[in-house]
């Protein structure tokens, strides 16, 4: 039995009928074609699927699409404005905050949640905010440096 949902993703409104069991991350990737949000562990540990729902970072592999009915969602595709990178995206570029890039969308969305609450976090606060995001390449050092750089840049 399909359920009709309405939601806003990156400023655009969508109305779709979804199976109740469909996970939000697959709704974004397969129904809306927004494949920037990655599926990593699929067990709410790795954070690759992190998005903002009504302004809060959540793991889209552990939410049903039907739960997001009426919500406003931001994914990695929604951060850049008029072709200009978001300060976090630019900082990850400048500071070499990624290698393979698989964890990067989730890292940036988790960091975006932090910076909207605290525009000048300490390094410890950055590390705590990224606790739910795993990177298997960088050792986190450049990721933390990227977030600190974006914060200093006044994102």
């Amino acid at each position: 039995m399909g359920v009709r949902i309405n939601l806003e993703v990156n400023g655009e409104s969508y109305e779709r009928e979804v199976e109740p069991r469909q996970l939000l991350v697959y709704f974004l990737r397969e129904e809306l074609g927004l494949t920037g949000t990655n599926v990593g562990c699929e067990t709410s540990l790795c954070g690759a699927c992190t998005i903002l729902v009504d302004g809060q970072a959540i793991k889209a592999c552990t939410q049903l699409a039907v739960q997001a009915d009426g919500s406003s969602i931001t994914t990695i595709e929604g951060l850049a404005t008029n072709g200009d990178y978001h300060p976090l995206q630019q900082a990850f570029w400048d500071c070499h905050g990624l290698q393979c890039g698989f964890c990067t969308p989730g890292m940036i969305m988790a960091a975006a949640d932090l910076l909207q609450r605290d525009s000048s976090p300490s390094e410890t606060e950055v590390r705590q905010a990224l606790k739910g995001n795993l990177c298997r390449c960088t050792g986190y050092h450049n990721i933390v440096r990227s977030v600190m750089t974006a914060a200093e840049g006044g994102s």
């Binding site: 039995m1 359920v3 199976e19 109740p20 069991r21 469909q22 996970l23 697959y26 699929e42 067990t43 709410s44 540990l45 954070g47 992190t50 809060q56 970072a57 959540i58 793991k59 552990t62 939410q63 049903l64 039907v66 739960q67 988790a110 949640d113 932090l114 705590q128 905010a129 606790k131 739910g132 995001n133």
Partner: protein
């Protein structure tokens, strides 16, 4: 990874959730989903119907009245950890909520879902038992209340009947003059679950301990209440030697053991962290 198929309905009030539960015995409540959805994905559970209570605002939020905290069951871990009322009136509840999982998990997971799931390695049960919380339920026969110590009955098992919904957790304020509390945790490095979590609460009257309570997560299949019949520390000085002696005498039977930590190791952690938590609670009193 999809869950098996199910029907989905949304409740707009706690009473409507109870009515919907009564309609179909093979229904479960969906709050934040951070215990239920992993179970659904692994197909460890496959209910015919999910009743989404995620927007029932009447059971969400924290308030304080007459030295009692009332925490709605739908309140998220993040809301509890960052609540000034909880931080000032029940500090170790805020500490435990802030140590659950990671920020994304704390944004969705709720206190009601957490205790209904009753994972022995979860963080909230020991705090609720140590503080003497009361769980309020609404069911087909109306409201009832149950002490947290009687609520957790076994591994992933509680005294909540299938047709009931947890509406509120009532918590006596425990940070007034003379009270101290602390929650210390050894967490599994990957999952964040407690290998051992120690929740301690101490009431000092001058140099004498008036009361103390201590409970552990992650050590036994159900939250372990160290002193359900009163603490041996009461009436004494609760100095380091007294705390060490009380914990050394504690019998912790039938601990859980798995590939992450043997039962023997968990008991050793419980003794070390029980002592540290009691001393931290005393020093905060």
């Amino acid at each position: 990874m999809y869950p098996a198929d199910f029907d989905y309905v949304r409740a707009t009030s706690a009473q409507e959730a109870v009515d919907l539960l009564a309609q179909n015995a093979d229904s479960v409540l969906l709050a934040g989903g951070h215990s239920l959805i992993p179970m659904l994905k692994l197909r460890l559970t496959h209910p015919a119907r999910l009743i989404d209570i995620g927007r029932v605002d009447e059971i969400r939020g924290v308030c304080e009245k007459d030295s009692t905290l009332r925490v709605g069951s739908l309140t998220t871990h993040n809301e509890i950890a960052s609540s000034e009322i909880v931080q000032s009136q029940c500090r170790f509840l805020a500490e435990a909520a802030g140590k659950i999982g990671d920020p994304q998990v704390r944004n969705k997971g709720t206190i009601g879902g957490n205790i209904a799931h009753a994972d022995p390695a979860s963080d909230l049960p020991a705090v609720l038992v140590a503080v003497g919380a009361t769980v309020h339920l609404l069911g087909p026969d109306g409201n009832r209340s149950i002490a947290a110590g009687d609520f957790f009955t076994g591994l992933l098992t509680t005294a909540k009947a299938p047709g009931e919904i947890i509406t509120e957790i009532e918590i006596p304020a425990c940070c007034e003059e003379g009270f101290g509390c602390a929650y210390l945790k050894v967490e599994h490095p990957a999952s964040g679950y407690a290998v051992c979590g120690a929740a301690a609460r101490v009431k000092m009257d001058g140099g004498t301990c008036a009361a103390a309570s201590l409970a552990f997560n992650g050590v036994t299949p159900v939250v372990f209440n160290a002193w359900s019949d009163g603490s041996p520390l009461a009436g004494g000085p609760a100095d380091d030697a007294a705390i060490d002696a009380a914990i050394d005498e504690l019998a912790i039977d039938e601990p859980m053991g798995d590939i992450h930590a043997s039962g023997e190791y968990r008991v050793a952690l419980a003794r070390a962290y029980g002592k540290r938590a009691l001393k931290a609670a005393r020093d905060r009193s």
